[in-house]
Symmetry: C2
Subunit: 329 residues, 2 copies
């Protein structure tokens, strides 16, 4: 049986052939270690694992141009989760620190295939903590990543060797750039950048390429993110949120932030971002009745696997990849 | 804030209120332990955790009257997974023993609400082993359950006490009844039963009620199950498959079996069960090219949680329950 190159799109269409490639087994062994390490770290930090929702009446609208999937759920219009963020704000009223392996669907435009880092189906380890700040969350993210790299280096050295990956030990603290500083750095290198928008994919990759260890970008502008990222009360227009980026051109690792959790605040932001409040009725009712302040983030499991293993494409980092635009198994 | 009874349907509709009920926290703590124990046991047995698919061109048709959910995936008609069974037959060509926390959607009829043990959205720990028999699988299932109960008793005694649950230590071997023996037992107690059909819900509950420890029913008749359960080559009409049932009326725990893995065999069974082969083109092409013999099963996480915690309804066993017919968060 012919064994396709795991990074080709042909291998995605005929995965039942390509899956026999010896590299797949090595990658899956490392991924198993990554999942184990993520959970061990979080349990040791006092997080409880919960079951993530798969579908619901509404989901995360802040997905940068990707489309949500609508379904018919008995008599009601439902969505497949694009992220479980709305539910994380619910659960912390029961358990103060939670995490979940959450399933997500985002129909990215087929052109995104060329970034080699977008999947239409992916999983995050999603976590949330009550009454904490985005500094706390960045610290947790940093320690989490250091811990995973240490475990993989310790337990999967043969697999890393087989994959030709040299993975260096990580040491904190990771560099932390404000969005403004990141924009200034990119401008100084010739990129046309806006202070009030998301960092475009190509600029994000460039920023990532210039770094040799993971780093944070924080304090994104209000106009660049969804309604749930909290605006700093003392610095209007600045969100208390962050991304973590992998080095070596691998790009975005984590997205997180403090939550806007007041009914009035969210409603105002929904209007600003053009989101229809009627679609979020249970969520708004919940906020009206009151939820605690919290912070959280999600770390994509496939992207983490890709970076750890040093893979050319994201579709090597998962056994059954859904590449945008390709109707494969 | 009013705290609803977690077992009411009202509590499902307004979960953001009910979730604050002190019982929820106890249940979630036990569930976290259950997930940890399941994975620890399986890793110790040499299983590798993989990422389960969420959607795909086709999914498990053998879901006893529940409906699959169709979606539009770019230009193609896709389904949300009702189980990952087809994919388990693919992955064992790479890794010989795998498991996954798999997300599943099955639109059960709204009447199923009265069984108190059906959810439209649920998760299984799904596992598969290459070249093993259904006896091996039953042994694994038995040891798995014994191990989970031991861990929960050891680490969550306070939570069990808070929930008013007396959970006894389990000892093997669990009783193993053939489907024929189960039917005879039920007939002897006055149930109208067929030797060639599934055991109906009410009879299954009765059977479960008469037992004080988990038990197996195996060797189901050919006509009662999907195309993927393997017919015994020496006993035509008998499948090499099994269910595990919880005692005390809690009903089905596990469903599993050896896989029909030949192209011709599956095609014949598809015709028999009225499944359109055109919908399973990638799967049939894979079988044509050859996959190894394997066995596997799935254990529902919410039902396991329900039994371990002794909960009146399945919708107490999950933070964000989707009860058939109710469009709740």
């Amino acid at each position: 049986m012919k064994q396709e190159d795991l990074s080709s799109l042909e291998s995605v269409r005929f995965r039942y052939r390509a899956i026999r490639h010896p590299r797949m087994k090595l990658i899956l062994k490392v991924q198993d270690q990554i999942l184990t390490s993520l959970r061990e770290f979080l349990r040791n930090e006092g997080f409880t694992e919960i079951l993530a929702p798969i579908i619901g009446p509404a989901t995360d609208p802040g997905i940068r141009g990707a489309k949500q999937v609508s379904i018919q759920y008995y008599d009601a219009p439902f969505k497949i989760m694009s992220s479980m963020i709305l539910y994380k704000q619910m659960i912390i009223s029961s358990v103060e620190k939670i995490f979940a392996l959450s399933p997500n669907i985002r129909l990215e435009p087929p052109e995104s295939t060329k970034t080699a880092r977008h999947l239409a189906e992916f999983r995050q380890i999603d976590l949330e903590m009550i009454y904490a700040s985005y500094d706390d969350a960045m610290n947790t993210a940093e320690e989490l990543l250091i811990s995973v790299v240490r475990d993989v280096r310790g337990n999967c050295s043969e697999e890393l060797k087989g994959l030709g990956r040299e993975l260096n030990e990580l040491r904190g603290p990771f560099k932390r750039l404000t969005h403004k500083e990141a924009v200034e750095l990119l401008r100084s290198k010739g990129y046309t950048m806006s202070y009030v928008e998301e960092i475009p994919w190509d600029a994000e990759v460039a920023l990532s390429t210039w770094h040799e260890t993971p780093f944070f970008v924080y304090d994104y502008p209000l106009t660049s993110r969804g309604f749930y990222d909290r605006e700093d009360p003392n610095r209007p227009g600045i969100l208390r949120d962050f991304d973590m980026l992998y080095p070596e051109g691998f790009g975005e690792a984590i997205s997180g932030g403090e939550r806007e959790h007041t009914y009035e605040g969210v409603l105002k932001r929904m209007k600003l971002t053009g989101v229809d409040p009627d679609e979020y009725s249970w969520y708004l009712q919940m906020l009206k009745e009151g939820v605690p302040h919290s912070v959280g983030f999600g770390i994509g499991v496939e992207r983490l696997t890709r970076w750890i293993c040093g893979l050319k494409t994201i579709w090597e980092a998962v056994p059954f990849p859904k590449v945008p635009g390709i109707a494969s198994p």
